[in-house]
Each structure stands twice: as C-alpha cells, then as structure tokens.
Symmetry: C2
Subunit: 707 residues, 2 copies
C-alpha cells in the first residue's frame, strides 16, 4: 500500500467503535473506554461493542460491528487475540476505514503469530481498511485532547504542542512524552507496535501535512520500506517541517537486538546516516537528544549561518561552555561595539563583556541588571542563539536569573537555551519550565542540540537554493538497458560516451595495431588484456604498465598473452587494450555506485589507497546529485586536505572530479534499474586544470551479479 | 614550593582564627562564623578577630592575630581587600600555618591585583605559611562536617562520601556538590580561586593520601605547574585512587576563555589528553560526566576486562542500550547456559532471555519475579556490570522496578547502573536515590561513564603489571650533554651509538672516498650534503637518491656541490654523506621528541606522509616508556592497520619499531635536559624481520633552538 493515503480520520475520527468495551478495572477495554469518555474531548459518535453486555455505564452496547447503526471511521480492538481476526474481517466488511489493534500475542510471540499478521495484511489488501498495530498502545492526539489508547498514563501527558512523535515500541515513546514535565508540548504520538500495515513512515508523512505539528521526532529500529521512508521525509522537507531521528543499529549489538525486538532489518548504518543527512533528517545519538533537538527546532528555526553567544554568571562555566561550542565546530558571535559598550556599562569592571559573557556573581541578585545585560546580548545582530548555562541551584538568586531569562525570551524570537546543570531543582527551574524555556540538563547535550540546529539551517539553505533531494527510488522511471559492458574496453567506451573522462585508449587485435595506436596517442602506454573471461586482469598477468616504446610493447604483448593463457586456458582473448599512461603525480580516487536494498542507488567516493579500505573515509549520497552535492561530498572527506594540496603538492582538479560525479549520477539515472554495480577505480585526479581520468572501470548489469 | 607538603591541618585544623568575624547579616565574615559555629561539628579552638568589637554573640573578639592567646593552625580572612596583605603578614609573623583568603579584588581585577598577589607569594616564600585563595569560597570538609567557607549553601550540601573534588572556580564546584541530591556523597571540596599558592594539584595530592576519600574529581582550567600535577596524580595512582578530570581548553575558544578567567595557560589539548591517559587520569567531556564517572568508580572498582549486561523491561530501550554499548566499543557479556535457563524459567516466552535482557512489561508488577530475574543476571560470572535503563515513570510499577534494583544491589558488589530516562521523577526515582543507586539521567552518559570505568580497569592492569609511570620531569637527574650533532652524519653517528638502526652510511670528503664507500656498502646509494650550514638539504639541491653506480655517483657529486654553492654561497661543506638506499616497499614513520613547556619531554610517533600532517594521527607519551607502552602507542594509531599489513602488503616489523621507540626513550633519558628537539623522519619500517632504519635525523640541543 502506498504510505501517502490520507490518515486524518485515524487521528480525528468522526465516529469510533470500541470492540471489547468493558468496565472491568485494569482491563484494556476499560482503560480505552475511560480515556475516550473521561479524559478526552471527543464529541463524535462512540459505539461500544460487546456481545455479553447490553450497556456499560449507561451507554448502549452493540453485539457486533455489523449491528451498529452507522459505520464508524475507526474501530479500536480490545478483544483477546483469537477474536482479533474475526473482528477485523467484520470491520472490513462493514467499511470501517481504520482499525487500531491493541491486542498482543502476534508476530512478537513467534511464527504462528506472524502467520496471523499475514492474514491481517491480506484484509488490508482486499478491503482498503488500514490497520494500526497489533501489540500497541494506540495513539494519542494531544492537540485535540483525544486518546485512542488504553494507556492509563494518557491522562497524565496532555501538554499540547508542536512536536509530533512517531515510534515503534511504546516504552520509549512514553519516555519522550514525559518531557512534558519540562514544558515540552507534544501534539501527536503514534506507536504502532508490530506495524503489520501502517508504519512509522506513514505517520511521519501524515504529521508533515498535519496542522499544529511543526517538528517530527522519530525513533526507528529499522526502516521497513525505504521508498516509503524517503517519500515521508521528503514530504516533511517540502512542508518545511524538520524531522529528528534516532536510528538503532549502529553497532552489531544494536542490529541484532532491534531485529529480535521488532524484526526490522537495520541496514547499513553508514548508508542510513548518509541518507538522513542528505534528506535533511537530523540524526541524534540518544533518546534525550531526540526530544531536546525537536524542542529547540520547535522554539525557533535556524537561519543559514547562526552564531552563538554564551551568557553565564560563572567564569568557569562560561569557559567550559565556550570550549564545548568550539569543539563542536560552532562559532561564537563577535559582538558589535555597541553591545560591548552597553555590557561594559552594565557589568563590573572585572566581568567579561565579550563573548563568552561572564557577568560574575556580583549582579546576579539584580533582576533589572541581569535582564538588561541579557537583552543587550540577545539584541546583537551577530547573535543567533544564546546558550545560558546555570550551574547551580542557589535559591532566590537563581530565581532572579530564571526570571530575567524568561523575560528576555518573551521579547525575542532568538532562542535562549537555558541549561539547568544541577541535580537539585528549585524555584528557578520551575520558572524556566513555566516560562517555556524547556531547560536542558547538561551543557554537552545542549551544545549537541545547538550544533544540530545550526546544521539544519545550513541544510535548509541548500535545499532552498536548489531543491529538496528527490532520490531515484521515488522518481525515476526505469531507464535504458545497459549495452554490453562485459570487458573493460566496452565499459570504458560506454562511460566515455556519458562524459566520464578517459585516457586515450584503443582495443588492438594485433601487435601492429597496438604499436600504431600507442604511437598515435603517445608513449608511455599501458597494455591490458581485453577478455570477458578475465575478471582479475592483474592476477592473471594481464597488465603491463609504463611501456615506453614499440619494443617494450612487443615484449609486453607476448608476455600478457602467455601469462593469461597459462592462468586461464579457456579465456577468449579479444586483444589488448592500449591506453595512454596518466601523467605522474596524480591523486587516485575511487568512485562507486551500488544498490542499497532499502534506499536504491548509492554513490560513494573516497580517496584511493588506504583511505577507503583502512580509514573508511567515504562520502555517500543517494542519486541523483547536483554539482553542489558533489562538491559537498568531497569536502566531507576527512582526507579532503589531500585534494586541496598538501606537502608541496598542487591543489587537485576537484571541479573536474565533482563534474565527473555528476556525470556518473546522470548515467545511473539514465539507466535506472539496469545497473547493479558500477566502479571506477582508480579515478585519477590531476592538478587543477589537468582534469580526471578513469583508469579502470567495471559495470555489472542488474540481475547479472554472477558475471 | 613543593606541592607535597602535608595539608592535614588545612583540612582539619585544631584551631582557627576568623579575621573579620562579623554578625552582620549577609556579610562574608558573618556567614563564615555561622558555618563553623552553627553548621559544623568543629570542636577545636575558634578565635574571632575584629578590632572594632569586643565580642560577637558572646564570643570574645580579639583586636589582632598578634593579640591571640595561642597561634591558630588556620586563619580565615574575611576582611576588605586593602586589609588582606597586612593581615597575612601578621599571620605569617605569628607562625600561622595556613591562611584562607575569601576576599576578592586581586588578580581577577587586573594588573594592580596581580601585583598584590605577587606580594602574597612573597609572604609564602619567606614564612612557609601556605595561602589558599584569594577570591574563593574556602573549603568544605564534609566527612568531618566542617565548613571553612563563607558559602551560605554549605549547610545544604552535607552528604558525606568517598569523592574528593578539587576545582578552581566556585560555581562549577558547587554544581558538582549538588549531585548529593542524587545520593552522591562528597567528602571534601576545595576551590582555591586565584590560587596564588596552593593549587588544584596540591589538593589532588592531599586527597590521594586522605582517609575516607577513594576517588578524586577535578576540573582544570589550566595546569599551572606540570611537575606538581604529575606528582599529584602519580601519588593518587600509587594510592590506587582514580582521578577523574575535566580539562577546559580543547578548542581555541576554551583556551582563550580559561586564560581570561583564571590566567591559566591551557597548553596543548593533545598533549594534555595523552598525559592524562598515560597517568591513568580519566578525562571526561562535561561536568555531569565528571561526577557520574567519579560516583561509579566510588561504587565499585573495575577488574581488567569487565563485560556488560543490559537489563530492561522495554524492548526498544534494550535494543538502544545494546547499540550504544557496541558503539562505545564495550562488550556485552555472554550468559552461561545456567543463567539462560534460569531466565527462560522466569520470563514470558516472548521475552529476551539473552543479553540484552528484555523482561517485557508482563512481569514488571511482580517484585519477586523482577528481583529473581535481575539476580540471575547479576550472578552470571561473565557479567561485570549491569546497565539498567528505566525509560519512564509509571507510578507503582516503576517503584517495584526500583525496589528490585535496590534489593539486588544490596546483595552484590557488581554495580547496577540505573538510568532514569524520564524527565518526570517519581517514587521509583526516590527509591533508587535512597538505595544508593545514584541514577543516571541519560543512557548515553551512562554508557560513557561505563566505558571509562572499563578503561580504568585496563589501565590499572597495566600499571600493576609494570608500574605507575614516572615521567622524567619528576625523576630524572639532568643527563649528559649532547655531543656535536650539528650535521646529519654527526647526529646519525650519535643515534646509532644509542641503538637506533641506521642504513650503512659514511661521510665522504672526496669523490673517491664516496665511490669506495658506496661500493663497500652496495648500490644503490643516496648522497646528501653534509654541512652544519645547510638546514634544508633538499631545498638546496643537496640530495640525490637511487644512485646505481660510480658514474651516477660522480655526476651527483658535481651536481650537489654546484647546487648547494649556488643556493648557499657561504655554506661550509664537509663532504657528502653516502648512504645505502633502504630496500623498496617499506612504510615510513615519523618519530619525534619535543619539550612540552608544562610536562617535559614528549615522544610522538605517527605514520609518514599525510597521516601526521593531514590526519593528525599521532600517538604521544611522556618519557620514559617501556616496551609495552611502545606497543600500545602503535596500536593506538588510527592507521595501525597499515602496520599490520593491508592491500596485500606483508605485516611490518612493529617489534623493531617498538624497540626503537624505547631506544629513543633511553637516549632522551640519558641526556635529560640537554635535548630541545629530536626528530627521525622518516624512520623506515620493513616487513617483519627486516627491522627499521632511520633515514634522516635531526637533533637540537637545549638552549640552541636557533641553529
């Protein structure tokens, strides 16, 4: 099923049937009934279904869905596992649009449960009714004060807000909701458990279009369907709603645990991260970072180049915070002269009136002075965000500090990021929470969130300047088939035809042809065996380099034919590929495209030698890419300095390299679906102006991995 | 002054004079008086000094220190800044041992204040009285319930415990103390402000010897005196007391801010970190990590190879936690069959009875079952520590969880690291705190602390097997002077004499000598100009490589003399150094020793080419080192795989390389104080069994940096 279906009636049904309604204390049906009748503002029609009761608490009970007086938009199933499938069938037959299945005892219990889930999917496929669950707590639409959930905690977590949360399991989702304690409001939460049909991606897509939701936070144990995920996050990007994601599966332990928990395939952590970065999805490392980053983005959207002010009344804390800002690669704002003069007038002479600002403790008891000082900093045009660490609870003094922060935050749209560093809470903390400041609890975590906020502003700038990326998997029609690329000459001819620069080369079937070709292109040359039967040319003795004249070429001709015949007696040899040697002193790079099983074609580039193999220094993108993306990819390499020119070497022709990456992207797009793998290794990169040269290349058509 | 003086009477004075005693509300003298009389268990003699009063609250006031009936061990100064120096002089004259100066208005205010601090140091030098401060809150000896401080917060932070804290500024120190709210007890806290005399290192040294202190946490804006710091942390290591440190100054912003705050020189972050790692000091990245790591070490000491169990009742949280354990490079324990069987008997069939353990929510309400399950995990011999993330506050259910944790922790010395992930606290949280569990607040921070705990166990193993390192700066007498090493032949001869392997080489003064030498050592050879006046031989055309016979050598002889004469007409040329070429296919490394201005001689090793310059992949140690250290240094390199042999290359002779590092260490030790800089670049490393060869070397004697 496409994930792009309108889910509004799931989140805001006009009518709901509760199948398995109950007034038994502690039962799922009982909690669900209480949540919708006592703790929700639900004004639609509610139908209770329970064949063993005629009424519950004065409300009519119907014996079945079929017997209902009207068809509900949504059915919630709180019946025992054996009754779930019949009830779903009944709902589907009645034309119900959405069904939430709370009941557990399915896929999570083993093979039998998985078979039952397959039957649920069958119902979806045949009826079009969408299923949410099973084995899930349901969903919470806080902004409408609507609990379609049996969770007894629903009534405790009702602070509305602009954040939408999409999780798989329930525990971590509820953990995120409890950030409401810090004043972080959450508008919608979904937790679809075993996700037989509707899954995290569908909810991201829905939230991207939902009024009242401005930021989406998601926790992924695995991406079940890459296209659905890409579609969802792209939709969010187009709606200008940031998506913050925590993805389990960076280590082998995590991959195994996620798989055993939700049967998700974690995929390659490197590809996952590259895809998220490319699509503007903000990847975080921990649960608290997920909600913190989302909350910061909900408070204010970053511009393209935000700089930070540190404001503090403790010199050590100011120094520590500035240090962490620097280590995170962020920039401290340089105050204007006017700001510095204003601060100098407000602060004691030994305070720091530059960034980081250390007011010293002297003026901390003076609300007006603290407010004026902070206001001066926030008003400086160079400042995009203020980091305000509060190292300790000091009773009324800290309360003054907190009040000044709340006061200045009310006057400005620039975020003031307050950090309550102490384990002791107090009145000042409450002032911050009540004032909407959503205090962080550690400087390090605050700086991480700020770094992500700044990076999102940079991504947004790029997306606005060009476009939100649209990966091939979403957009591209199946392209042309590949020509015969089974030998190096054929692969090279094909690549050259698509704008990949090559050294002069010619397939020679006789020695005379070879010598003539070499003389025409200029010595020295390389000679390589041309045969679809020789995969590893060097291993078979099929390569000779640095041939300086006709004699050396003649010797090489003999030697190669002899070696290959000895190594692979059955290989059919077409001749030798004669190729002009690349000039000395180039840098070797490696460019490849492979099909990620989740996300489709991925382009990789790295420096040759140890960089890719030993140092794992690779930059990746989903295709297609634009020239700016290609330049970014090169800049992202840790070894980028080598391309800029180190140790007396000239700068490399990175522009030609970037253009070649785009040419590869165009080529793969034109043959979308037809290429299993493409590798140019090495791609020689000359000094600026010398261009690049594909020295060896290999292309494997789809469905043909064996050749 | 040496930092090793006995400070017991500062921390536990038998008698104290409070100079500037007061009963004025809110005054420094008033608070200090209250703290010692009302909130401390001080049973010694207390003398109040205030010339304007005869008594305060019934206690006699003396007009001056000179007038006191006896000499106090300690004087606390709460007088205005202009009165501080006269009071200090009076104390020194009276024979007072220690003076705490609360008063501010000195070095932190500018040059005038710095001059006054110089006078304080003068008093210390002449009298032997030690000064603590000025511009500081004093110190807190919680384990003796003694507040030698004016801080009105003293009375709030009185949970005794095994952690000693040494900070410079007061704000962050108090922040650390407030971790008492989580049940983390702190025995002693020092915060000596401007540190004119006693400094952080002195307090670390003291705490290392102090009864009741088991772990030391310190926050450093800069290390003022490297030897004092090394002495202190070495003493702590010998006393088996871990030191956890947060050092400001990793980024340029931090270095600048720390310098403006406490006038500390931050030094090289890389050298600082290397020194700490070598000395077993556990470096952390944030304030909360400082106290968290110290608290974990205070709860239990790690063995040499601890493995982790993850225990949780939420599948997603278990998967996330396992993922983070893996990403941190930690190992999950593999349960014994008996443990797995026991868990299978206790848990529902769809729970995870392997590591990570997911009990599922089913049994969470059952205290006995939760206790038995956790007990089974803790009892597994493979488990060294249990990470127990609690994702949310769920009222009585979470309380049951917390009670089971506390119960099992009482039965075992293995630490159970509970993480209270929710922003909502509750009864379960209080149960954990009261039960001594010191809950963490984020999984990521818990995993970082665990990783440091495990690493400390590994360091301890090494220190126990060999010895706690004793850097040259602490121990070595000044060594022999350097011979004349002003030319490459002289430097090489000297190095060869100290066991650094060299290619065959000879200084030739005539072409005939050169040809004879080359023939004797075997072609091909390298020829290099030998002249104390030619620093950059290649730039002056003074090097020729790959000379294959007498003719080529003759041509090179002419060419080199000609080029050098053209480039440097005044250079006095001694001849050419003729050297056997290293065999092809080696790996080039770079070995250097430099004098760190804070810590003395530092040995660095890295791979040649881009590794050091571009990738900053360098391993460092204070000298001297042992063979095991040398092996560790090589293993620490990110590019270590290159030495192990990649891309079809054979493994390198890392043992010879390690032995050569030790030879360099011995050499520098023998000439301690005489070498400003030493560099072997490149040091060629052959395949296993081929050894290493110093191809070029440079030594600069101390005090002779200009040559």
């Amino acid at each position: 099923m496409s994930g792009a279906q309108d889910l509004s009636l799931l989140f805001e049904p006009r009518s709901v049937a509760l199948i398995g309604a109950s007034d038994r204390a502690g039962s799922i049906g009982g909690y669900a009934l209480q949540n919708i009748t006592e703790h929700s503002d639900f004004t639609g029609d509610l139908y209770l279904v329970n064949p063993r009761r005629t009424d519950i608490g004065g409300r009519t009970c119907w014996p079945s869905v079929a017997a209902l007086p009207a068809t509900p938009d949504l059915a919630m199933l709180a019946v025992p596992a054996p009754d779930v499938l019949p009830a779903l069938q009944e709902c589907a037959a009645r034309g119900v649009r959405f069904a939430i299945v709370f009941t557990s005892g399915f896929g999570e219990t083993g093979e039998e449960g998985k078979a039952l889930e397959a039957q649920m999917r069958e119902i979806v496929a045949q009826s079009g009714m969408r299923i949410y669950g099973p084995n899930c707590p349901g969903l919470t639409n806080v902004n409408r004060r609507l609990g379609l959930t049996f969770s007894p905690a629903f009534k405790l977590d009702l602070l509305a807000g602009p954040i939408g949360i999409a999780t798989q399991g329930g525990g971590l989702g509820r953990c995120l909701l409890q950030a409401m304690q810090r004043g972080i409001g959450v508008g919608v939460w979904t937790s679809a458990g075993n996700e037989v049909d509707l899954e995290v991606s569908d909810f991201i897509h829905h939230m991207a279009g939902a009024t009242g939701i401005e930021v989406i936070a998601t926790l992924l144990e695995g991406v079940r369907d890459g296209a659905r995920f890409l579609h969802a996050v792209r939709h969010a990007a187009l709606q200008r709603k940031p998506v913050v994601a925590l993805k389990i599966g960076r280590s082998e332990y995590g991959r195994r645990a996620a798989q055993s928990h939700t049967a998700s395939i974690a995929g390659s952590a490197e590809v996952n991260s590259a895809v998220m970065r490319q699509m503007g999805v903000i990847e975080v490392d921990d649960i608290d970072e997920l909600i913190d980053t989302a909350a910061l983005l909900a408070r204010a959207r970053p511009g393209p180049a935000e700089k930070i002010a540190v404001f503090c009344s403790s010199g050590g804390t100011a120094a520590l915070s500035a240090d962490m800002i620097g280590s995170a690669g962020l920039e401290l704002a340089e105050f204007q002269g006017r700001t510095r003069a204003e601060l100098a007038g407000l602060l004691p002479s030994f305070a720091s009136a530059t960034n980081p600002v250390d007011t010293t403790g002297e003026i901390m008891r003076d609300l007006e002075a603290m407010t004026a000082t902070l206001r001066a900093v926030v008003s400086d045009p160079a400042v995009g965000l203020v980091l305000y660490p509060i190292p300790l609870e000091y009773g009324p003094v800290t309360q003054v500090v907190a009040e000044s922060v709340v006061r200045v935050q009310r006057e400005t749209s620039k975020p003031i990021v307050a950090v309550w560093m102490s384990d002791r809470l107090g009145a000042g903390y409450d002032v911050l929470v009540d004032g909407g400041l959503m205090p962080f609890r550690s400087v390090g975590k605050a700086v991480k969130a700020i770094a992500r906020w700044v990076a999102y502003g940079q991504w947004r700038l790029r997306a606005d300047a060009t476009a939100v990326p649209e990966p091939l998997q979403l957009s591209a029609p199946r392209g042309q088939a590949l020509p015969d690329v089974s030998t190096e000459p054929l692969a090279k001819a094909w690549l050259a035809g698509h704008g990949i620069p090559m050294p002069a080369h010619r397939l020679a079937r006789t020695l005379a042809e070879a010598q003539e070709a070499a003389a025409a292109m200029g010595w020295p040359v390389v000679a390589k065996v041309a045969s679809a039967d020789v995969l590893h040319k060097s291993d078979a003795g099929g390569v000779a380099v640095g041939l300086r004249n006709a004699d050396e070429l003649a010797q090489a001709w003999e030697r190669i034919h002899h070696s290959v015949a000895a190594a692979l007696p059955n290989a059919r040899i077409q001749g030798l590929l004669i190729e002009r040697m690349a000039p000395p002193g180039g840098v070797e790079t490696l460019v490849g495209v492979h099909q990620d099983e989740c996300f489709g074609p991925v382009l990789s580039v790295g420096l040759g030698g140890i960089h890719v193999e030993v140092l794992k220094d690779v930059s990746r993108r989903l295709l297609p890419i634009h020239l700016d993306d290609a330049r970014d990819m090169l800049r992202e390499l840790r070894g980028h300095a080598i391309l800029r020119g180190v140790r007396g070497q000239p700068p490399r022709d990175t522009e030609s390299l970037a253009r070649t990456l785009v040419a590869v992207s165009d080529l793969v797009t034109a043959h979308h679906g037809a290429i299993a793998e493409l590798e140019i290794n090495p791609l020689w990169v000359g000094a600026q102006g010398q261009g690049v040269l594909a020295l060896d290349a290999l292309a494997i058509p789809s469905g043909d991995h064996a050749t």
